[in-house]
């Protein structure tokens, strides 16, 4: 087991290195704009551009630039881990990412809890009462939720329920997160984003659980449990749901990883200053160090979550061997 984890961690490092290299290559070989010119103001002389290029180290050979970036990520040189300096604000990238991380984590965590709270009961009941009115209605709604783009759902939610501009003013809307204070204030501001973000996921998870549970309930050991005279309720909850829910962990790991890298669209619609918005803004402004930092963070979350999932599996499911 320990050897397996070490091997996987080594692969994680290789993976992150390759991703850094690819990101670096894409953005330096195919630059959307010259960062020096962006920084130089509106009537820069060639001398000024040249001086800024040297200041940013843009004239150095590409491998040197890459090496320098790697040094910024690793704690081995004297200026520590800072992920480089933003071309735009001339400040260190890492503190800015860390500054935006809580918003993204809060958004993700709340949405995950919400969608699990919706999906597990609905999935279970639908599976038990297959074909009932409840099953058909919830599964129909689920399909609609899956089909709705999150930004459209978000706009409609704002249009209807935003406390400032909505037709039925109920909830804090766009931009409320950063004005809100304290845990409950922030949580209140996120109610609408949570619901919108969780809608599609709740639907997917409910459908998934339902399908799994229906299959599980036809397994032999369920029949055995029933034969032992256990109540139907116990059979479903203790045996059925428990094993049907295990594969959900894989899904959950992946989805959390992706969302932690930034829910760009949700953050855009609700004007939440998270990692996703930060990355998007950096791309628009061609702020290379920030783009690299955010892509690396996003990849890190995806890779780490899938590692955690695999390790969890080893504990949950004794059949998995390494």
């Amino acid at each position: 087991m320990a050897a397996y984890i070490v091997r996987r961690l080594a692969w994680v490092i290789v993976l992150l290195f390759v991703i850094t290299l690819i990101t670096f290559t894409i953005f330096t070989v195919l630059p959307a704009a010259d960062p020096a010119a962006l920084r130089a103001g509106r009537q820069p002389s060639p001398e000024l551009i040249e001086s800024i290029r040297q200041q940013f180290g843009l004239d150095d050979p590409k491998p040197i630039q890459f090496l320098r970036y790697i040094q910024d990520i690793l704690p081995f040189d004297n200026d520590g881990v800072n992920f480089g300096f933003s071309f735009q604000s001339n400040t260190e990238v890492l503190p800015q990412i860390l500054d935006r991380l809580p918003a993204t984590i809060f958004l993700t965590a709340g949405a995950v809890i919400l969608w699990l709270c919706i999906a597990i009961p609905i999935g279970t009941i639908s599976a038990v009462r297959t074909g009932s009115l409840l099953d058909r209605v919830t599964m129909g709604l689920a399909l609609i939720a899956i089909s709705a783009p999150v930004y459209f759902l978000g706009l409609v939610a704002l249009f209807l329920f935003d406390e400032d501009i909505g037709r039925f003013p109920l909830l804090p809307g766009s931009g409320a997160y950063q004005d809100a204070d304290g845990f409950f204030g922030k949580a209140g501001a996120l109610i609408m984003p949570w619901c919108v973000l969780a809608a599609a996921f709740a639907a997917i998870y409910a459908r998934f659980l339902r399908g799994n549970l229906i299959d599980t309930m036809q397994e032999d050991y369920i029949r055995t449990a029933r034969a032992k005279g256990l109540s139907e309720r116990t059979v479903i909850l203790r045996h059925g749901v428990r094993s049907a829910i295990t594969p959900i962990i894989t899904l959950l790991g992946l989805d959390i990883g992706i969302l932690l890298g930034g829910a760009i669209l949700t953050e855009t619609v609700f004007n939440i200053q998270g990692i996703g918005r930060f990355a998007y803004d950096a791309i628009v402004r061609f702020d290379l160090p920030v783009i690299q930092g955010t892509v690396l963070f996003g990849a890190f979350f995806i890779v780490m979550m899938s590692l955690i999932v695999d390790i969890l599996y080893a504990f949950i499911d004794p059949r998995v061997r390494y």
Binding site: I26, T130, P247, L265, G298
Partner: protein, 331 residues
Amino acid sequence: MSTGAGASDLLHAEDSGLDEIVRGDQAVAARSPLQLFWRRFRRDRVAMAALVFIVVLILVAAFAGPVSRLLGAPDPNAQSTEALDDFGLPSGPSSDHLFGVDTIGRDVFARVLYGAQVSLAVAFIGTGLSVFFGVILGLIAGFYRSWIDTIIARSLDIMLAFPVLLLGLGLATACSGADGCAGGLLQPGLPIVIFIIVLANTPYVARIIRGQVLSLREKEFVEASRSLGAGNFRIMFRDILPNLVAPIIVYATLFIPANILLEAALSFLGVGVQPPRASWGKMLSDAISIFNDAWWFMMFPGLALLLTVLAFNLVGDGLQDALNPKGTKSR
């Protein structure tokens, strides 16, 4: 994928009852699997209705010009300042403009009709290419195993670890130059959008196909073929590939709605199709700044997008049900 939900959507498919059929238990039956699909599928009325909707949509997209003229809509690119007020604010639905106008006075109805072209083109071309490359990679990796498999599988892992939307945004921005990129092959607009879709989907397709090839290659019919002297190439394409047709079709229907959403998301973020071409995602993004005052500009393209994706999802569900003999129907 675009909504962030795509990953689970596809894994979901991987774990469904579909796998057993696909693994070849029935695939080599005497009757064509395609005929079996169709029989079961026809009985699903909701899925059939969705299929009809898609066919109509394809017709509308193909004949957008005549259709919109027939319905009395103006040209989708015609700008009418008369439909704007003194502050440049657009006017809502009226007899002149069924769905109102957008912020520069263009007819929203006509643009929603024309927007179907982009969504469908992306859906079919993008998905088709992803499936093509995914199947080839998956076949090679699954069939040869050894170091080839290791390289391909590891590369797929890397691709899957990328935040797709960020990478897509970056690529699209980077390729916005006069000559596009990759020597002019990748022009801004639809080509780059399709490229990003292929990049995002191929690893998923390849992984699924690889898994199935791994089990198919151990089947007796492969051994039989090999003992008859068939070469690798022949086995891959003549023996294994036909057995993958059914799952490929089903997965493709799962990818199509995800890809429509991805295109809309890219357009929404400003790196999608180029003007004056209408795209639902772009319309939604333009509507953001004004949705509270011009609800029509947000609502109609949004609903068009929702209905189209829903229709593809329903057809996809129907196909899966038709494939699943155990009858755990999705609806």
